[in-house]
């Protein structure tokens, strides 16, 4: 599970459903969740989680797309398998991993140090924990 530290900038709720606006490494992010029954408020620091298989990659984006989280990264390293490719990405001071098919990696001609955009749907992003200010 990839981990990203972020700050909550807004909370919108409707019944049991919430959409959070967040800020991490100079990027605006959004997260969709059901029943946030823990003490979360604007300004809270949270640790976000996302599975490697839920991070898509793009070299550039021309059209408007619905994916809420578009993070500017660079390729730290590539591990090419028989069918899959595991890409280590640098996003500010954190490393993320994205697992894509080898065919995609080859057609995108991915190389180390290339700039990339990591794409994460708001529903694929979860809150692992709230960073308690008093314990920092």
């Amino acid at each position: 599970m990839n981990e990203i530290l972020a700050k909550v900038t807004a909370i919108e709720s409707c019944d049991n459903l919430s959409v959070l606006a967040l800020h991490a490494n100079g990027h605006n992010m959004r997260l969709m969740a059901l029943g946030l029954n823990f003490p979360l408020k604007v300004g809270s620091e949270v640790l976000l989680g996302v599975k490697s298989s839920n991070i898509s990659l793009a070299t550039s984006i021309q059209a408007e797309i619905s994916i809420s989280n578009q993070l500017s990264c660079s390729i730290e390293s590539l591990e090419m398998g028989a069918l899959l490719c595991s890409v280590r990405l640098r996003f500010g001071n954190v490393l993320l991993r994205s697992v894509i098919t080898k065919a995609s990696a080859l057609s995108m001609q991915l190389q180390e140090r290339d700039p990339l955009i990591a794409l994460i749907k708001a529903s694929d992003l979860s809150i692992i924990k709230i960073i308690d200010e008093t314990k920092r």
Binding site: N2, L31, L34, K51, S52, L83, S86, V99, S123, S126
Partner: protein
Amino acid sequence: MLNIEIQKTLQGSIGTMELDVKLSIQEHDFVAISGASGSGKTTLLRILAGLEEAQGEIEVGGEIWLSKKTALAPQKRGLGFVFQDYALFANMSVEENLLFAAKDKTLAKHLLQITELEELAHRLPNTLSGGQKQRVSLCRAFMRRPKVLLMDEPLSALDPLMRTKLQHDILTLHKEFGTTTIMVSHDPSEIYRLANRVIELHQGKIIQDASPKEVLLKTQGSQKFSLTGELLEILKTDVIYIAIVAIGQQIVEVVIDEEEVLRFEVGERVQVSTKAFSPSLSKI
């Protein structure tokens, strides 16, 4: 309003145990009592019914059922009791079983109508299925229009389809009669469907008192689909790793990263979680 404050020393499998329960229940509430076996659930129910002695006080709507001076007899407590094993009179017909509790033919007919048992009114209990017997037992409990209904794992002996039917009947009767119902149950689906409050007992003490969703929904951060299992094996496939986890009677596979492999040990208890958006449902 039910006010309960009771103590009793019980002989459990691991020595003596103090049952010590202090509890207020609002009128018309449906309360589920859960907890491991031997935690005192059934004893608490039997004390409420007056079938077992205890120290303390029980007050129901201003009436004293138990105090230092008095212990109201079970039949004077204005309650209904549904047991797991039906407890019907074998030599009496369905209707006679109901009329034995109270001689009110109109009410008996009405109850049998609600629970769709009318056609079986003249049958003897041993000619009925388990589900039918339990419906008769439920009807009988309502013959005295009880203020308080006590049920001890009423559906545990029934198949899933019959459980759903009986859950519906229980809820219909609970609402129609405005009863305050207290039910011992282990079954999460039953607790979720029926109860508006869950009391969890552990070694005779209340350890949780909240809504069914708060008690039953296991979460991991914002991940609402969370199950506990045992890590059986981690396999490397191509550039990814697959963790094999046993959950209940099933085995599931979870794809994990290289960094995570080092954090886990085969054989340890793990929580498998995902967001409520990810899993999909299909009919079996």
